[in-house]
């Protein structure tokens, strides 16, 4: 019984050590976007903006950026030292960006550009019929 417990402890500690190391790396990995929100004008529904994606990794490695934006289906850095990307966006809906490991295809981080229409003008009740005949 004691031997079984010892084996388990040994196995579990080695397994948890691996998970913790992986978690630390994921926590240290980040993908940021600036700006995060694009507000369309009142008349136009299309958002036109240049956004900058920046990422931080615990260790240098090659990554790829995937998105559901038609002009940027997939982009991969040519060298591990590149850690930002500027993209001109013209969109009428939200865009999701995902960063993956180029070699393992492991998902590392994600960020969303939110496309919001300009707020509608404030209105209130009108108390008279505009064409009321006195």
């Amino acid at each position: 019984m004691t031997k079984k417990i010892s084996l388990c402890l040994l196995f579990c500690s080695s397994l948890s050590g691996y998970t913790v190391a992986e978690d630390i790396e994921l926590l240290a990995t980040s993908l940021s976007l600036s700006p995060k929100i694009c507000i369309t004008s009142k008349d136009e529904e299309i958002c036109n903006v240049e956004v900058v994606l920046e990422w931080r990794l615990l260790q240098e490695r090659s990554i790829c950026i995937l998105s559901d934006y038609k002009e940027l289906k997939k982009w991969c850095n040519s060298s591990p030292g590149i850690n930002s990307l500027a993209v001109n966006i013209s969109a009428d809906k939200d865009i999701q960006f995902v960063m993956i490991d180029k070699d393992t295809h492991e998902t590392l981080a994600g960020v969303k550009l939110k496309v919001t229409q300009a707020s509608s003008p404030q209105v209130r009740r009108r108390y008279r019929n505009p064409w009321s005949l006195f």
Binding site: V123, R124, R126, W131
Partner: protein, 288 residues
């Protein structure tokens, strides 16, 4: 009163089948943009009948509309108000408005400005007001001034699924007649695609001072009639219909009709020769 009841029953039954939206701002007649002037003009043809003897009906060729609503203050076709409290189902305003009675006497009364007309109120020439040949004549050209005044008071709206109920009480602000008016209005809006129909039934109560000031006879006008006609408070009843068809963002087709049953207490005045007044207007409206 029967026609009011019939109208309410008819519209209520229609309302049960109509698919009216619950949204209070579902068309441009219900709501207005805060902080922006709403200016428009309707061009067409119509008539406002004049119940006064020897006074012509008022032809209508253009009906302007101008309104501005702030967060609480508002100006709407000559009415100035302040919203004291408002909820989903109610509104209470302090409001100033003006009497409609003077409009029968004077072309440039504010009530007639918003019914911009061609010839306006004119007395028929060569005629005199008389009841029977045996009774003394009142020369309509010798009538004393019926001055303009503003009324101030409180109005409340209740928004229900069966329409909007408005109640208001206003009093003369400038000691012109020192009278009081009260109004109870029920209206129902039915938006159907590009159409919008608004029905209203109105009870207008006027105090004795108001009736006497506009429809009473001064001793200088006719000693006989100033004695014979004694004004009393009166209750007018009206039904209104406004139909609009949206052509474009700026253009609407417009049909407005109103019938007012004038109270007996006013009809008894020797100045009147009909017991009702009607208004209709058909045209195209442009909102800037």
């Amino acid at each position: 009163m029967h026609y009011l009841l019939a109208l309410i029953l008819t519209i209520s039954s229609f309302a049960a089948t109509a698919h009216a939206s619950d949204d209070a701002c579902d068309n441009n007649t219900d709501c207005i943009e805060i902080g922006r002037w709403d200016i428009g003009i309707a061009l067409g043809y119509g008539t406002k009948s004049n119940p006064l003897k020897d006074f012509d009906d008022i032809p209508l060729y253009a009906v302007p509309t101008i309104a501005y609503y702030g967060d609480r203050w508002f100006f709407d076709n000559g009415n100035i108000g302040y919203t004291v409290t408002e909820g989903e189902n109610y509104t209470v305003n302090i409001v100033s408005t003006f009497s409609t009675d003077r409009a029968f006497f004077y072309r440039w009364d504010p009530s007639n400005i918003f019914l911009l007309s061609g010839n306006g109120v004119e007395r028929s020439t060569g005629m005199s007001i008389m009841d029977t040949p045996a009774e003394p004549v009142i020369d309509s050209n010798e009538l004393k001034n019926r001055n303009f005044t503003y009324l101030g008071g409180v109005e409340a709206f209740l928004y229900t699924r069966f329409g909007i109920v408005k109640a208001s009480v206003t009093h003369d602000l400038f000691n012109v007649h020192n009278g009081t008016e009260a109004q109870l209005r029920w209206l129902y809006n039915i938006p159907l695609d590009s159409w919008n129909f608004e029905f209203a039934a109105v009870l207008d109560w006027k105090s004795e001072q108001v009736v006497d000031y506009y429809y009473g006879i001064r001793p200088s006008e006719s000693p006989y009639w100033s004695e014979k006609y004694q004004a009393e408070s009166a209750l007018n009843q009206s039904i209104e219909f406004t139909g609009q068809y949206v052509l474009t963002e700026n253009w609407n087709l417009l049909l407005v009709a109103r019938y007012t049953d004038i109270a007996d207490e006013i009809v008894d005045s020797p100045l009147l020769d009909t017991d009702y007044t009607t208004t209709y207007f058909v045209g195209a409206a442009y909102r800037f």
